[in-house]
Symmetry: C2
Subunit: 429 residues, 2 copies
């Protein structure tokens, strides 16, 4: 039985107890949310027996973030991927995806599963076309790769089963076209063979493999808008409705499901898009990439994405895929990975505070209290990236704790406020 099936039978499996325990939520309640398809605990049986520390994703728990790692044909190596993984986890990534498209893929994937207590995701499609052109890809090859990733202990797969042949005319003439790698490859396959998406046609066989190892689906949005101009278009919404149908089929087959989302979306469309997704997908956890609120942020796209992500998580998304400053420009290096993780932790946290998630604001209140009493060690402990905050503070010589170089001691509002407080207290009769 899969986790989903156990919870549907009224059980509270150990993975769910552990995931609930990590955030101080009630395990029975989390199990009910998993049973209803509104939360997932991606936990491949192989990884669960090893290094995995089970993690819940859904509206009943705190907002989670994913860091995309992986080597590309032109960059990175096993050693660099190991370094990026460690760095991403230390910076606070809740989950990681290994999106490698070059190098020894098995070795990298096995290293990541072995080393990561965080759930690990992959996009099996990438390996399918590693040593062949996409046109030459056979269904048996596809299923074999999916089965291998499942055996290796990957906890969730992005499967682009929702991009259909009939969607393509709506997508290719967009301003941004098809910007998902998996989506674009499958589109090429479909057009070349004049056939339907093989991942859609063989969805039940994929479900059977994933059920065996209890791999969760992350239904990929191969037609996500990659430009503001394309947001909310026919291509995006037709695919989303297909994803909603597939989500139901996957759950019937015993598999947990998340739905992937955009992309590039103007700020004013985010609420509507998220609410629509939650409605058609019956509350399935929504896993968004940004969304980026402008197309002109190159070099700062982690920020364009974090603005959209904060709003998305406030309105209903549960899982945020980070972007790094190198988005649209090149593969992230270690510094970019760290920056992306911290900025998306900030977005997730700000959204949790805004939606009143229990306990979220305590850390802000403790930070502000520490700031008011000039308790720098406490501030560095509470900051999202205390290391960076500390190094910035120490960059300037600043003798004395009760001010910083921003205003200097005499003009420090925090220090003066404390004086005013004492003066007012002394004036009390």
């Amino acid at each position: 039985m899969t986790l989903l099936q156990e919870t549907q039978g009224g059980k509270v499996p150990e993975s769910i107890v552990r995931a609930a325990g990590r955030e101080g939520v009630d395990a029975t309640e989390l199990a009910r949310e998993v049973a209803a398809g509104r939360a997932v605990v991606p936990a491949n049986r192989v990884h669960a027996r090893g290094s995995l520390s089970p993690l819940a994703i859904g509206r009943c728990v705190s907002t989670k973030i994913n860091a995309n790692l992986g080597a590309s044909a032109v960059k990175s190596s096993l050693a660099q991927e190991k370094a990026k993984l460690e760095l991403a986890l230390r910076a606070g990534a809740d989950a990681v995806m290994d999106l490698s498209t070059a190098g020894d893929l098995d070795a990298i994937r096995e290293m990541v599963v072995d080393q990561s207590p965080a759930p690990v995701g992959t996009v099996p499609m990438y390996e399918m076309v590693l040593h062949r052109d996409v046109e030459d890809l056979k269904v048996a090859d596809m299923l074999a790769v999916i089965a291998k990733h499942a055996e290796q202990g990957v906890d969730f797969f992005t499967i682009h089963a929702g991009i259909l042949r009939e969607h393509l005319p709506h997508a290719v003439n967009r301003v941004g076209g098809i910007v998902s790698r998996g989506g674009a490859l499958l589109a090429k396959w479909m057009v070349h063979h004049s056939r339907q998406n093989p991942l859609y046609e063989h969805f039940d066989e994929i479900c059977a493999i994933m059920r065996e190892y209890d791999v969760a689906f992350s239904l990929g949005d191969g037609l996500r808008p990659g430009a503001l101009a394309d947001a909310g278009d026919e291509a995006q919404y037709r695919e989303l409705r297909t994803l909603a149908e597939l989500a139901e089929r996957a759950r019937q087959a015993g598999c947990q499901v998340m739905i992937e989302g955009p992309g590039h979306v103007p700020l004013n469309q985010i609420e509507e898009q998220i609410r629509y997704q939650q409605e058609v997908c019956a509350g399935a956890p929504f896993y968004v990439l940004g969304p980026l609120v402008t197309d002109i942020g190159a070099g700062y796209d982690h920020i364009a994405g974090a603005i959209g992500a904060t709003l998305a998580a406030y309105y209903g998304a549960s899982f945020l895929c980070y972007l790094t400053p190198r988005e649209h420009l090149g593969l992230p290096d270690e510094e970019a990975v760290r920056e992306g993780v911290v900025v998306f932790k900030l977005a997730a946290h700000a959204a949790d505070v805004a939606r009143g998630f229990p306990g979220a604001r305590q850390r802000d209140d403790a930070m502000s209290a520490a700031r008011a009493r000039f308790d720098w060690p406490k501030m560095f402990e509470l900051a999202l990236d205390g290391e960076k905050a500390k190094s910035m503070r120490q960059q300037d010589a600043c003798p004395g704790d009760d001010y910083c170089t921003m205003c200097g001691r005499k003009w420090c509002a925090v220090r003066i406020n404390n004086e005013v407080k004492e003066m007012l207290a002394a004036q009390q009769p």
Copy 2:
């Protein structure tokens, strides 16, 4: 006559024609908005005769951003301030404030006014306490400093006239207390002397000086919340209502007015706060500092601020004061200034796109079109910070234009999309 008075008399002064021309809006319409107090064109007569290129701030024009510059007692110099000014303007700052609290203040201020085509703001309060303790400050000293800044050509002053003695008990026991420098200094003066805020009591005399040089008010929020816990509290709202009264008095006296806003505000309170400010202040341009949507972002507070600022500008703010990565930690250096400016340009632009400001999205559409055809020079031209984007792209060896190191050539979705497009077109009968 001041600009405000001229527009109220039905005239369309040259400064307004020039400010309207810069953004392709109708000058008569802009003059009407200025007359109604819903837009400002800060233009000190002295600066207007010199380097100033007049700039409009309000909902009828694009969202503007301000960069705070200035030396503190522990950091910077005239030369460094000149470098920071040039850098801020090159990065796209629409206005700058010189917040120096040390060094040769007159020399720095005169240099900034002389060199800056952008409107220049100051907080005269800082200079008032330069060579004395705040308790020793006399009203005559205050007015003398204000008059000197006006003569030197400063276009807008932050005047903390709205923080009243009776507000203080609501503020000092907050989690974050009083976090505005000017507010904290005035609070200390009021408590020490057991008297009302002198800037409030002598507001008409201040108006008279500002009218003479046509300096615009930026009514400072000395009680802005500096912690999420303090957002929307009595102290903040009582001061805001006082600011609304003062705004009306200033306009009666012929002066243009902006209202300053928070601070630290949870995301879910931003819409309500902005709408309330617009209502009580009769649509006066709202000039916000962030707001920061979390307190734990030290080292990344420009991002915590940009998230709030994007939403604020979407809902009604017209003018965004940048934050830099060094906020709460130290005085920004040149790299921090540049980073702050670009990130707030991004926020302002994303908000303009979201509110459907005419023409705003054209740049995004052109960027995405350039991306789809791998036109890298065009992308660097359209990006908010093309220099940085270009240097990131060039960091990796990437022979060939039709991909980047993110995916490599074979996996590049943009390239594959173009192939699919051609294949589909070829299949058309």
